[in-house]
Amino acid sequence: MNSGMSSGASGSQRRREPERVEGSAPLSVCVDIGGTFTDVVLMNGRGVVLASEKVFTTSGDLSSGAIAGVRRLLQGSGVAPAAVGEVVHATTQTSNTVIERTGARTALVTTAGFRDILELGRESRYDVYDLFIELPAPLVARRLRFEVDERLGADGRVARSPDPGRVRELARHLAAEEVEAVAVCLLHAYRNPVHERAVRAALREGGFAGPVVLSSDVCPEIREYERTATTVANAYVHPRIAAYLRTFERRLDEEGIGGSLSLFSSYGGRLTPAAAERRPIEMLECGAAAGVLTAAATAKQVGWPRALSFDMGGTTAKAAIVHDGRPRLARSYEVARLARFMPGSGLPVTASAVDLIESGAGGGSIAAVDALGLVTVGPQSAGSEPGPACYGRGGRRPTVADADLVLGYLGAGAGAGAGTEKSDLRLDPDLAREAIEREIAAPLGRSVEDAAMAIHDIVVEQMARAARLHAVARGEDPRRLRIVAFGGAGPVHAAALGWRLGSPEVLVMPGAGVGAAVGLGLAPAVCVVARSRLCPVEEVDWPAAESLIAEMRAEALGDMGLPAAAAVEASVSVDMRYRGQGYEVNVPFRGPPWGPESGEALDTAFAAAYREHYGRDNPGATAEIVSWRLELRQGTLQAPRSPAAEAEPSAGRDGATPVVRPVRFDDQFVDVPVFRRESLSPEARLPGPALVVERQTTTVVTPGARFGLDAFGNLRIDLDGEGR
């Protein structure tokens, strides 16, 4: 870890100097709480994973299980709690609060006439053919949505100011209603925060002491529904996150764990606890972001300019594009989708997040035959309770893992290489066969093996479809994307996915099973802020733009807990479109300083970005700016390293004749060698098909591919574009 980061970046609250362990860089503890498992990883300052633990997530009280995991990790590796230099944490607390509707009793204050915007949404249906469509209920019920008589024009000018006296009265009413948090979203406040700030001041004067979240702070962007929904979500989770963070910090103190605490953001950076508490929605996608960061770091390590991050667990698969060692960022996404994964069925959030696509295709996804006599897989998942049929824990419905077992991708019997997240599971092939026979093979009149192959092909195609859509919509050719695979089920399916996408190569990093947690320890401190200012390029007031950026910079530094003079890397980008269009392209833009000639440079940059997205530009059309974005980062993304890559090659790596097991590819079974990952000799380049097993996963190497370890301990599979 570079010294700049550990000394200045994070943790303005907890500043206990770690005890220096002689001759070593400060140690990081990374804690990634997921849906089923919590991963904790101990890393040194050079990006080396020293130890890892996987424990069950304690759903009622998330941090208790996590702290227990940390304790076990430190004890197991003989590290004193006080020697920990920093703790980096990703938690599902924020998204759980929204999904489970366990947030604060929240009120909403809007412009008079618009209290129902939150409920009306965009008035469209996510499923045209469902007459009984269910829409997500708003996080604030109508009786707690209040109106203030005020108005700004579309240009941000004040048309009518709010009456502070009425707002003070409202504050008293809020107390009577036992409201814990307030969201304020007024029309056109993205242009001018003055009225929202006045409302907050009056609420305070009226005695409201809880959090008051302003849309102009959280999400100063045009489109009132999306901005309101984002502001409300932030207020709704705010008190819960604040309490969670206090508990987490107290427990770290009780354990005597030293160093700073930082929280992981959805856009792949670290937040100070203070910033995380103020804008908790920035943590909604933090777990997924951590995984993508790992993939980005790995791609950078091996010199891949662009790659596809592929993370497949028990219930979902996530794909994301990483570019020059960085994840792509999206400016909006949805949480808590009702019809799982159906766009439009969730609550929109306008905030920066790692740009990824999630599909309901995981190891536990359930297969069935539908009314058309076709096989469907997911999005329903058997989860960990009862789990896939082959777990022998009462699950009777066939899953992807059951198909993988029948096909020979996963090994029967004990533990290692089970390809499940929990490596001490025993997999029972008879139970898997029975489930597939009953639910799929018999109804179709096909063999169990054919049915299993169909399940496998379909789930891989679902992921390919998601990845393809995601890539192409972002101007990337999926056939040129190399794949970085992780997650318990990722390496099992990555080569097949790569083949389907036409990808040249697949990489499975060391310790792919806890891949996401590793990303926490590699990430730099990052802060992203945005401001909407609708304006044609030719009319930009460049000195004013520079002051806007300066203001944004001050805000970002504050969130990062850094002084104004801190050395940070700043990058400006501009969301732009042709006048008359409704969607923007993000255009990276050098500077400030800017001058009169900057308009032309920005026009040129926009045309290039537009061509990259859509294959053409519109010469002669007027380009306009919608929003300005500033990203500050301190430190750089490190590459992960395996202990093996640092240690001397161990003895016994002699490539001893491996076990052989029948595995099905296409329409036939072939005998395939099964290697243990640690027994692979670093120099060997071996032909597929093969299986490579390790503690938390199995890598399937398809026929026609070649594979081996690289200098960093990564398992590399060369698909050469056509190996299947």
Partner: protein, 546 residues
């Protein structure tokens, strides 16, 4: 399942999974094309309201897959449009880079505003299929868009089935005919080019897919998609009661109410809908070309008999639709049709109300449709014109087990235009946009409420206003004892105006729209206690609050 129906024998040489994979790929190609269109469009009705659909066809012109974002009007009409294209330009004549367009209401989607474009998918000279896209354009010339046109010629430029491009070369004459006849030529051509880019990309991707499987196998799989879909819909029909049921709904029309009579026959294999007895064609622009009648009849049937099957030629095959010639649902050229949706959108209610006795748990009460639409035309500054449409959604009818959603677009599917976007583009100032409490029909399950939308001319010159609406003469009907929703109403500065009015909105004047509520389901007295309690506490919108 009979022996010949065994999927294994029917599937011939396919591996299990092949059909699923190809189908999924086709759906993703359509979604990507729709997303590209939305993101590059100039037309606000495309980019904010998402009024479009993209469909891929096999080489016989049978629809295989459509974009998830798709308006039912287009889904039902696109296949017929392609048939008309093929009648004009035989399949063998299509070459790489050809683009054919039309906006003919009888061939396209019922009015001139929608343009349809199709492109071939060719493997060398061998035809693999077609891609087609329909979308609501930014302008088509003619008088201001309204329901008051007396014949098609007033409604704007009619583009017959025409080659917009031959082997990639745009026909300059066609382009000039279009640009010379519309108010915003750059935007119209910009959106046509966006459609062209969609077609090009989608056809290339389908071609790659067909190549991966081999064209013959691809065609076999495509055939399976269609036949399996038909089989599944027929199975649902077979499981339903047999018989004939009727319904009658009325549209406000202009001077007198117009009866839409609907007879639905289920014979165990198919569903036949007949509109015998429906009002005759009208002198103003609310006539519905048959293609639109067909689309809005097949749509509710699909919802009832195959909601989960991705739409394709096969899902519609068991349905037949008859409308008497010369009726308002099947008028002859050159009838005025600009506001055909004001009549056509009653058809889903007609069909569902007829089916209510046979299948009460599969239908919903009448919704507050057609949802009001308003066109504003004016200037933001001297010489800077604007024409913007807005949609104001109404309440949806309740079902036997669910309250109807408030203010949701149905039976079409468009999004609203954000207030902040509208105010950035025009001098309009929206003063109120809220749920119209009390407008949903009471019932054991309550109909969805409509909304109140008021907007002021904040500029200094009058804004020309065209209201396109109906359902002001009665409320949306309830079912099984549920009550009717509140009717729609329109007013300027407090004075009621007609639901199909065209007028000037002077500076400072305010237009108020009360969109209708949906009908309730079941007797109000049987409303479950927890729901009734929640109504009273204001957690949900109570039926009686105002």
């Amino acid at each position: 399942m009979t022996a010949t129906d065994n999927p294994e024998t029917k599937a011939g040489g396919f591996l299990p999974g092949d059909i699923e994979v190809v189908w999924s790929r086709l759906l993703s190609i359509m979604d990507e094309a729709a997303a590209t269109m939305i993101r590059t469009a100039y037309s606000i009705t495309i980019r904010e309201s998402k009024d479009l659909a993209v469909v891929v066809f096999d080489r016989h012109g049978r629809a295989l897959a459509e974009s998830a974002i798709a308006s039912p009007s287009f889904i039902g009409t696109l296949p017929r449009t392609l048939d008309a294209f093929l009648a004009e330009y035989p399949a063998a004549d299509w070459r790489e880079g050809d683009l054919v367009i039309t906006n003919d209401p009888w061939i396209g989607s019922g009015h001139l505003q929608d343009i349809t474009m199709a492109a071939p998918i060719l493997a060398g000279r061998a035809l693999v299929g077609f891609v087609a896209i329909s979308a609501h354009g930014p302008d088509i010339g003619g008088a201001l868009y309204s329901a008051l046109s007396r014949e098609i010629f007033e409604e704007g430029l009619r583009i017959p089935v025409t080659r917009y491009a031959r082997r990639g070369r745009r026909d300059p004459l066609v382009k000039r005919f279009i640009t010379s006849n519309v108010r915003v030529p750059d935007k119209v051509i910009g959106d046509l080019e966006g459609m062209a880019a969609c077609c090009r990309r989608a056809s290339r991707q389908v071609l790659e897919l067909a190549g991966e499987y081999g064209e013959e196998r691809y065609e076999g799989i495509a055939g399976e998609i269609v036949t399996r879909s038909t089989r599944a819909v027929r199975a649902a029909i077979e499981a339903a009661p047999r018989g004939t049921w009727t319904s009658e709904v009325t549209a406000a029309g202009f001077d007198e109410e117009l009866a839409i009579r609907c007879r639905v026959t289920l014979d165990g294999e198919g569903v036949a809908v007949d509109y015998e007895g429906t009002a005759p064609a009208q002198p103003l622009g609310i006539n519905v070309p048959y293609c639109y009648t067909y689309a809005h009849t097949v749509y509710p049937l699909k919802c009832v008999f195959g909601p989960a099957i991705p739409n394709n030629h096969g899902t519609a095959a068991p349905f037949t639709v008859a409308a008497p010639e010369g009726s308002i649902l099947n008028p002859a050229f050159p009838a005025a049709v600009s506001a055909r949706h004001l009549t056509g959108q009653f058809l889903s209610a007609a069909v569902l109300l007829a089916l209510a006795e046979a299948l009460p748990e599969r239908v919903i009460a009448e919704s507050g449709v057609p949802r009001p639409q308003v066109v504003f035309s004016g200037a933001t500054a001297p010489g800077a014109r604007f024409v913007e449409h807005i949609f104001v959604s109404s309440g949806v009818g309740a079902g036997h087990g669910n309250d109807g959603p408030h203010a949701l677009c149905y039976p079409t599917n468009t999004s609203n235009t954000p207030v902040e976007i509208m105010e950035s583009l025009t001098p309009l100032v929206v003063e109120r946009k809220e749920i119209r409490a009390g407008s949903g029909g009471a019932g054991a399950r309550r109909g969805g409420c409509g909304q109140v939308f008021t907007v002021r001319n904040g500029g200094e010159t009058p804004i020309r206003l065209s209201v396109l609406a109906d359902l002001t003469h009665r409320g949306a009907r309830g079912l099984a004892g549920g009550e009717a929703g509140a009717p729609a109403a329109f007013a300027v500065d407090g004075r009621p105006i007609a639901d199909k009015a065209v007028l000037d909105l002077p500076p400072g004047s305010v237009l108020r729209i009360d969109a209708a509520g949906g009908g309730g389901f079941g007797p109000p007295a049987e409303r479950p206690t927890p729901l009734a309690r929640a109504d009273r506490q204001g957690e949900r919108l109570p039926g009686g609050e105002s």
